[in-house]
């Protein structure tokens, strides 16, 4: 059992924040993680920047481009995170695209994640089938949870398959969109959340894409285990003049306290 499982058993209305490693500055990673933990965020997704992020909208795209210009790479990210567990207790998930991971070497990558204390991975362009055939034993031996996405278009049969193979949570994409392009929660989406709830899945769900404020956070918490905020947080980082204070205020504003 890793930190994610413990968290999902103990707590509801989870708030997870995504940020791109190396943005706004190369060495902000640990500062941002500490500020998020101090602000009471439940877990964090650290984005591994990629040159061609297919599932991301303009905000995360440009943060990735900036991070790469700043010199971020997997090697540097792992160096930054080497001693992260001395100060950070909350679960940590790495999110990114498959090509840099392949180039690093999947086995070396997983070994590094285990060594550092990473709890989960979200690799949107690693299809379930390939994961299942080639990488599942590797992930499981290192107790690293591979997190699958479901969308409003995913058929029930496939949702049940992904549910069965999930070991922490399912990432429920709130609508047909890339990240950061839609906001608010429509009746259409609520129908989708209800439809998923009626499936009685074993795996808890986190809703992501389009969650940007207290209203959307509270709304989706009625239908899922919690919410993931990405692009709205990146926008904050872009403008921030004082990371610690601004991050604390941002998290408070989402939580509504």
């Amino acid at each position: 059992m890793n930190r994610l499982n413990t968290l999902f058993q103990q707590k509801q209305n989870l708030l997870s924040i995504y940020f791109t490693a190396g943005f706004p500055k190369l060495n902000d990673t640990l500062i941002i993680l500490k500020a998020l933990q101090d602000a009471g965020v439940d877990f964090v997704e650290i984005g591994m920047p990629f040159s061609d992020p297919l599932a991301d909208g303009p905000v995360i795209q440009s943060s990735s481009t900036k991070a790469l210009q700043n010199g971020m790479s997997l090697k540097i990210l792992f160096e930054q995170l080497q001693e992260v567990r001395k100060t950070i207790d909350m679960p940590l998930v790495l999110m990114g695209y498959l090509n840099p991971v392949l180039k690093f070497g999947v086995e070396a990558f997983i070994a590094k994640c285990e060594e550092i204390g990473i709890d989960g991975l979200i690799l949107p362009d690693l299809p379930f089938e390939l994961y299942n055939e080639q990488y599942r034993p590797l992930f499981q031996a290192s107790n690293i949870s591979n997190i699958f996405l479901i969308t409003p278009q995913t058929p029930e049969e496939r949702i049940r398959l992904l549910d069965q193979h999930s070991t922490s949570f399912l990432y429920m994409v709130s609508s047909a969109a890339v990240t950061g392009t839609k906001s608010g929660v429509s009746q259409h989406q609520i129908d989708y959340f209800n439809r998923i709830n009626q499936l009685n899945l074993k795996t808890p769900r986190m809703v992501g894409f389009g969650i940007s404020n207290n209203e959307s956070y509270k709304q989706v918490c009625n239908y899922a285990h919690g919410a993931i905020v990405g692009s709205a947080f990146i926008k904050l980082l872009e403008q921030s003049t004082s990371l610690e204070a601004d991050i604390a205020d941002f998290v408070k504003s989402i939580r509504g306290v």
Partner: protein, 392 residues
Amino acid sequence: MYQPNEKGFYGNFGGAFIPEMLIPNIEELKSKYLKIITSESFQKEYHRLLNDYAGRPSPLFKAERLSSKYGANIWLKREDLNHTGSHKLNNTIGQILLAKEMGRQRIIAETGAGQHGVATATVCALMGLNCVVYMGETDMERQAPNVARMRMLGAEVIPAKSGNRTLKDATNEALRDWIANPTDTFYLIGSVVGPHPYPDMVARLQSVISAEIKQQLKEKTGTELPNYVIACVGGGSNAAGSFYHFLNDNQVNLIGTEAAGMGVDSGETAASMACGDLGIIHGSMTYLMQNEDGQITEPYSISAGLDYPGIGPLHAYLRDIGRATYIPVTDQQALDAVMELTRLEGIIPALESAHALATLGLLPFKTTDNVVVTVSGRGDKDMKTYMEHFKL
């Protein structure tokens, strides 16, 4: 042996490395495309349009003066005479019929040189379907006449503003559009790239090129097998179509030419075979140009249609098993070949096609050899570059 397996792999290359958001669309396409495109009614309508609308078969022309110069029988497969000016229409006619059969009303496409964008806008006008074309902002400038053509045909042309603002970036934007519009939209990919089943589907739709070459060469020489088939490769659709029906004929030498830009060692190149290694681009495992951290690097070629950091997985496989040979050709070699074909045969080729013509002097032909070069497109769209370069 040259068909992908059911997961879309040619050996180690291909597959469908796509986010979950695209899986329902790709699964639907995968389950339907072969049944539809091999059906009698599809084939009948596809060939009717190829003949009466595109103007096929395209001629196979014996280029006498080129033949004397290079000491072999040089045959030009005239895809430049296809309606809209390139081979691209062969594929868009097929895919638009498929999109209609699947009930999709909105068509999206990516384009580099604009040839595929024009071919897509053309069939959308023909069928009365909405058309959105993504094109890198850099390419919109260097291929302005094609942007105007697409707009005349009723397409909306959306500039891709990320990266170097070329074909790779346009393809990213088209994929993002498809993620955001999963139910009414058909993504009409222009080359043998992208997730399975696109590479196989586009290769099949372009294979009319090699089917015609076989028949025409037989009529003209008595033998259906040439000694060489030469075609340029960006993503690789005209080459895939030119090679397709010769793949099992091992005595036919298959030559692909990729864009070396300023040279394979210059860092300013699009030669993904010569300079790339294994990775994933646009949902496909193939050779691509990337740095040591697995970030895809920006390609460069004078030719917008070849300015792509990856290559179709079929070509990666053909190279790996030694069935085809890929030769890098620089901007300068291509420009020289443009002028040579123009002055020797009275044909102004596209910059892309000139990369194929540029290898004529590099191969060890015998005087009796039949050499087929696919002239994938005509040079009208490149006149701005030619005017500057040749000081016209």
